[in-house]
């Protein structure tokens, strides 16, 4: 029993899987159909990048407008039509840019779109206009205000600009960096509006690594064949986690890079040793086809077990 305990799962297999995948935490969103869909929570770095892009767009547009006004009117900003117009556009831009795009593009500003982020409702409903409005009304307090305090401290408090600057820094640290400190990467606006920023999903359907082992449907090209056979005992060693790592190894090996080949060779050797493969009897085997066959056989075995209600998460899990 103690030997088992020593070998006991160091950390949850599922957690390891999740940690590997996009190295991002995930969040379940329940659709109205009752099927949860998983999203990957956006990294704070991506969030910052998206914001920086939007911020630059805003700065460039306003600066362009201001220079245009100066050029057209001399230096008289106030009291001219163009000056008034510029100030109006300025106000609209800085207050409604994010709101406008998140409403029009369903939760994405130009910056978010470039980086591949998206705002969604945390509870699975459609992203409502209220939520977009609220999450962007707070932006001022979270970023623009403390930045103002930092950059033009003399205007905020002419007698003690240093203190104003310090206040600005503290303010920024607490509010602007809030997403770094919580698991779901929520900023104040997200908390109040009930939204969350996720990676815009994009995945490609790849070749099934076990397709070769299955009899083709009538009308399909004939598949390759299994060349190796594995005993049930050999297949019962590994679990789902190892299966999916193997899937990754096979896909990387398909890319044709030297690292991919080396990884396949190493994994092949390790598996052969672990399952007690008779190397002398089989002679030297091609790592790719051996692993593909092992993958197919292991998957067939694990999926069969899963259908019968036994889900073997990884090699450490024991039959209950």
């Amino acid at each position: 029993m103690s030997a088992r305990a020593a070998k006991a799962i160091p950390y949850d297999a599922r957690e390891r899987l999740l940690a590997r995948k996009d190295s991002g935490a995930r969040v379940d969103v329940l659709t109205p159909e009752g099927v949860p869909i998983q999203f990957t929570i956006a990294h704070s770095g991506d969030r910052a990048n998206a914001f920086l892009i939007d911020f630059l767009i805003l700065v460039v547009v306003t600066l362009g407008l201001v220079f245009l006004t100066f050029w057209a009117t001399g230096v008289a900003f106030t009291g001219s039509w163009l000056g008034a117009f510029t100030m109006l556009v300025w106000f609209l831009l800085w207050n409604f840019y994010f709101m406008f795009f998140e409403l029009r593009w369903q939760g994405a500003t130009p910056g978010k779109r470039l980086v591949g982020l998206r705002v969604i409702d945390r509870h699975g409903g459609p992203l409502s206009a209220d939520a977009v409005i609220v999450r962007n009304l707070t932006r001022d307090v979270e970023f623009f205000m403390p930045m103002q305090m930092l950059l033009s401290a003399e205007l905020v408090s002419s007698s003690s600009p240093g203190w104003a600057r310090l206040g600005g820094i503290l303010w920024l640290l607490v509010l602007a960096f809030l997403p770094v400190f919580n698991k779901q990467r929520l900023r104040v606006g997200d908390i109040v509006a009930g939204t969350i920023v996720v990676l815009a999903p994009k995945a490609v359907l790849l070749q099934d690594q076990s397709a070769h082992a299955v009899a083709p449907l009538p009308g399909f090209a004939p598949a390759g064949r299994m060349r190796f056979e594995f005993s049930d005992a050999a297949l019962d060693i590994y679990g789902i986690y190892e299966l999916q790592v193997l899937e990754d190894v096979l896909r990387k090996g398909e890319d044709g890079t030297p690292e991919g080949y080396l990884a396949m060779d190493a994994v092949c050797e390790k598996i052969q040793r672990k399952i007690g493969w008779d190397i002398i009897a089989s002679g030297r085997v091609d790592a790719g086809s051996f692993l593909r066959d092992f993958y197919a056989a292991l998957r067939a075995r694990l999926e069969h077990k899963m259908l019968l209600g036994e889900r073997k998460e990884d090699k450490y899990s024991v039959k209950k």
Binding site: L88, V134, G194, P201, M226
Partner: protein
């Protein structure tokens, strides 16, 4: 000797469903690029059907398949399709109509107690400011910053005080007055009162009170020179709208603060979300009211000098707002019935 083929239900499952996934992916790709209008009517009708089929594929795949790529793919495809199906884009016109006819008035009605309290605090500030300055004119400087006073103060002559009330401006000047109004006045501060609401609503109270103080201080200053009638004729045409907007913003901040301090039966976070959205509507409506106030101040008030006309415009704005909220309330009652 060839070995027997394996039986892998997940592979057969994928072979059977793959075509419909590809069809959905193609439709979703087009919608993402060019919007729902990129689809023909027949394709549009297929979209939800394919979405539900793929969603069921996802459930099945989770139960029977261990091919991670397939599950990832379905996960991402259903998510993208989910955005297309449920993120239906409304026309901006419909959204605006919905906001003005239902959501904004509903937010005002929903937060009426907060509104009453905010108005009370503003009034209190005004009274305190008025009486304090009336007793000692020099206190004016404690309440009103030099920038804001702009030469108006106890040391100014009556003529100097009277001048801005009847100042004539060119059209371009009034426009920039409008623009600066938006910046320097309360639209910004209003948003702030809301956004800072999570500090227990204290900033909202301070904002309301100081706004009241300034108003009261000015009123006392003009009252002592016997210019009360002129002063209120100058303030009220835009002031009714502007002060209401200030009160709205303050109420929104109070509501947020309350949801954090006294969460009641819900959790603080849940409460904050529920209240936050309503309060956000109120603030957006208030910002639009600041716009209206700015228009009245910038364009109308500087061109009409007659006191009776100014007062009747003030009364008209008051009646218009009352009529608007009463009418939308009746609309809501009728819709509920």
């Amino acid at each position: 000797m060839p070995l027997a083929a394996l039986k892998l239900k997940s592979v057969e499952f994928r072979r059977e469903r793959e075509a419909s996934w590809a069809e959905l992916e193609q439709l979703v790709g087009r919608v993402e690029k060019r919007g729902v209008r990129a689809l023909a009517a027949a394709e549009l009708a297929r979209l939800p059907v394919l979405y539900r089929a793929t969603l069921s594929s996802l459930s099945v795949a989770r139960a029977i398949s261990l091919d991670r790529n397939v599950i990832d793919y379905l996960e991402s495809l259903t998510a993208r399709a989910y955005f297309c199906v449920y993120g239906v884009k409304r026309h901006l016109r419909d959204a605006a109509a919905d906001f003005f006819l239902r959501r904004f008035p509903a937010a005002v009605r929903g937060l009426r107690y907060h509104l009453a309290m905010a108005a009370l605090v503003l009034l209190l500030g005004a009274l305190v400011g008025f009486f304090l300055v009336q007793q000692d004119e020099n206190r004016f400087y404690s309440f009103v910053s030099d920038d804001y006073a702009n030469g108006r103060g106890p040391t100014a002559s009556t003529e100097e005080l009277k001048e801005p009330l009847y100042h004539q401006e060119s059209v371009a000047e009034t426009l920039s007055a409008f623009a600066t109004f938006l910046f320097t006045h309360n639209a910004k501060i209003g948003i702030l009162a809301f956004a800072l609401g999570f500090i227990a609503g204290v900033p909202a109270l301070i904002l309301l009170f100081t706004n009241g103080l300034i108003l009261g201080a000015f009123a006392a200053l003009y009252a002592q020179r016997g210019l009360s009638l002129d002063f209120w004729a100058w303030i009220l045409p835009h002031g009714i709208t502007e002060l209401s907007a200030v009160v709205f913003c303050g109420a929104a901040g109070l509501a947020i603060g309350q949801s954090l301090l006294f969460p009641g039966e819900r959790t603080r976070l849940g409460n904050l979300q529920k209240r936050g959205r309503v309060a956000g509507q109120l603030v957006l409506g208030a910002v639009l009211m600041f716009f209206v106030a700015g228009l009245i101040e910038g364009i109308f008030r500087q061109s009409v000098m007659s006191i009776p006309v100014r007062y009747s415009v003030a009364a008209a704005t008051l009646c218009a707002w009352i009529a608007y909220f009463a009418w939308t309330a009746r609309l809501a009652r009728r819709e509920r019935a």
